[in-house]
């Protein structure tokens, strides 16, 4: 396998982008990435795009060709492929692109992620996102994604003494980080009191425990190590990109408070990268709900099972902590553009490792991105290094 580098990144604004269509959003991220990589366009060999539900959000399928077309690449006739794994679709696209380059099949490949959700109403948007859980045996019963994560949170609290305050602190941290990210959806600080007094969505989760559902697109451009050197002096290497799956429904899992897919994907990734969890300097994790960030600390091996809340209590994952987590603001405050999220996480880690993260810059040589689908039936763990 060849070593794979990221040579360019781009990201649209995340949020309610009323005046931008799906095509506009994708293009804005794509152009930024091409500029960042110093590419004209014709150098690109293939596209992989993560998109969860063009069909239901836009009544538009065949997103792969559409993206190639509106990125101005139609006449290159390059292969373009859409991949889907709920809100881990972006992570999957990254992994497909990574494999295409690592295998020697292609030299320069685009990994994109995009979702346009605000053309349907908020309730429909949540219903569509909830179809990343089991439609027939979970969502049918009124257990949508917030309710399912709420049941994870309830049990984590019961078993390990995690408190509502711990969840709120994740939200406060991520909001604070987002104030430093110009692409973020929510760029204002919130107090612990505001988070703790926000209305319940699904007990024990409150409004500020839940990420928004956002419009947005992100793009990273991958190249083989040799090719990368032609385009950039600051390549960021992907030292592992691993994917794992689990039962689609929460009720079928070995343990409700552990995402085994995350455990498996991260173990593989650490092994492949030849590192241990403690070697990670910065991480973007999938905080679709605050409890998911706390569980991610545990399942990624940053701390042992049940002690995730300690990291947030002790400030370990703050921007100035030992392992800053979600410096971008995470899904909670940067926004959660479903299929785009896995790529946006990669963009953030690359910026951090290149030293291009502006006011939210942390000191890091090695970073990790965790993208999950639904309640954890898919996990993609990617490790980056300078």
């Amino acid at each position: 396998m060849r070593r794979v580098a990221v040579i360019g990144v781009g990201c649209s604004k995340f949020g309610e982008l009323w005046d931008m269509s799906f095509r506009d959003i994708v293009l804005s991220a794509g152009i930024e990435a091409l500029e960042d990589a110093n590419l004209e366009g014709r150098e690109i060999d293939a596209i992989y795009v993560g998109n969860m539900s063009g069909g239901r959000y836009l009544a538009q399928e065949h997103i792969s060709a559409l993206i190639a077309d509106y990125a101005g690449l139609a006449e290159l006739h390059i292969p373009s492929t859409r991949v889907e794994a709920g809100d881990a679709s972006g992570g999957l696209a990254l992994r497909q692109a990574y494999m295409a380059v690592a295998s020697g099949m292609h030299d320069i490949v685009i990994a994109a992620g995009a979702e346009k959700v605000t053309d349907v109403g908020a309730e429909m948007a949540m219903d569509i996102l909830s179809s990343s859980a089991d439609r027939e045996w979970e969502v049918f019963c009124g257990a949508n994604l917030p309710a399912l994560f709420a049941m994870i949170a309830r049990l984590h609290m019961e078993k390990f003494g995690t408190k509502p305050e711990d969840l709120a602190k994740v939200s406060v941290k991520n909001h604070r980080n987002a104030t430093l990210n110009p692409k973020a959806q929510f760029r204002r600080e919130i107090s612990l009191e505001v988070a703790l007094n926000s209305p319940y969505v699904a007990e024990p989760l409150r409004l500020f425990d839940c990420a928004p559902i956002s419009d947005g697109a992100s793009v990273v451009i991958l190249a083989s190590e040799e090719v990368a050197k032609k385009y950039t002096d600051t390549p960021v290497y992907i030292s592992a990109c691993c994917q794992a799956s689990d039962y689609i429904a929460l009720h079928s899992r070995r343990d409700i408070t552990t995402m085994d897919a995350v455990v498996h994907a991260s173990k593989q990734a650490y092994k492949q990268a030849g590192i241990e969890p403690k070697d990670i300097d910065v991480a973007e994790v999938h905080d679709s709900f605050t409890i998911a960030e706390i569980i991610a600390y545990e399942d990624l091996g940053f701390v042992e099972k049940g002690r995730g809340a300690e990291l947030i209590r002790e400030g370990v994952t703050e921007l100035d902590g030992e392992i800053p987590v979600n410096p971008s603001g995470g899904l909670k405050a940067c926004g959660h553009a479903i299929g785009a999220t896995g790529i946006r996480q990669a963009v953030e880690i690359v910026l951090q490792l290149r030293g291009d993260a502006g006011k939210r810059q942390v000191d890091a040589e090695r970073g990790l991105a965790l993208n999950i689908g639904g309640t954890g039936a898919t996990a993609v763990v990617t490790i980056f290094e300078r």
Partner: protein
């Protein structure tokens, strides 16, 4: 969605699950293949008792469109006495539900395809007072 609902009526109305005779594991929702035995699976359908206990739960306030009239409602992960954990609604007051409480299956409406569409019936749970 009509054929999709109809296809599983037996399992929804009646908690008919499956059992792997090779390893002795019960499944609900029903499975055609045992994930522990895979090709060695020997699956047969079984009627489950409908008794169990609450593993975890949530009181849903921000309800999906079909469930708005019921809010706040309780959803729960319920471990049936035969072993499998299922997701279901629990018909009780939000303040009544506790982890570990005994529950039993009842027949209720889950929703409908609009005022002129078919009605989705299925299994919910209520506190099983006899056992406490």
């Amino acid at each position: 969605m009509l054929p999709r609902f109809w296809r599983k009526i037996k399992y929804r109305y009646n908690l008919v699950g499956t059992y792997c005779e090779n390893c002795g594991t019960y499944y609900y929702p029903p499975r055609n293949l045992c994930p522990k035995c895979r090709r060695k699976s020997r699956i047969k359908e079984v009627q489950l008792s409908g008794k169990g206990k609450v593993i975890s739960y949530s009181v849903v306030h921000d309800a999906p469109e079909n469930f708005k009239m019921m809010k706040p409602y309780v959803v729960a992960l319920i471990q049936l006495d035969e072993g499998p954990v299922i997701t279901s609604q629990l018909v009780c007051k939000p303040e009544e539900v506790k982890i570990g409480m005994r529950v039993k299956a009842v027949f209720r409406k889950y929703g409908e395809e609009g005022e002129s569409g078919i009605i989705y019936y299925g299994t919910k749970f209520v506190p099983d007072e006899k056992i406490g």
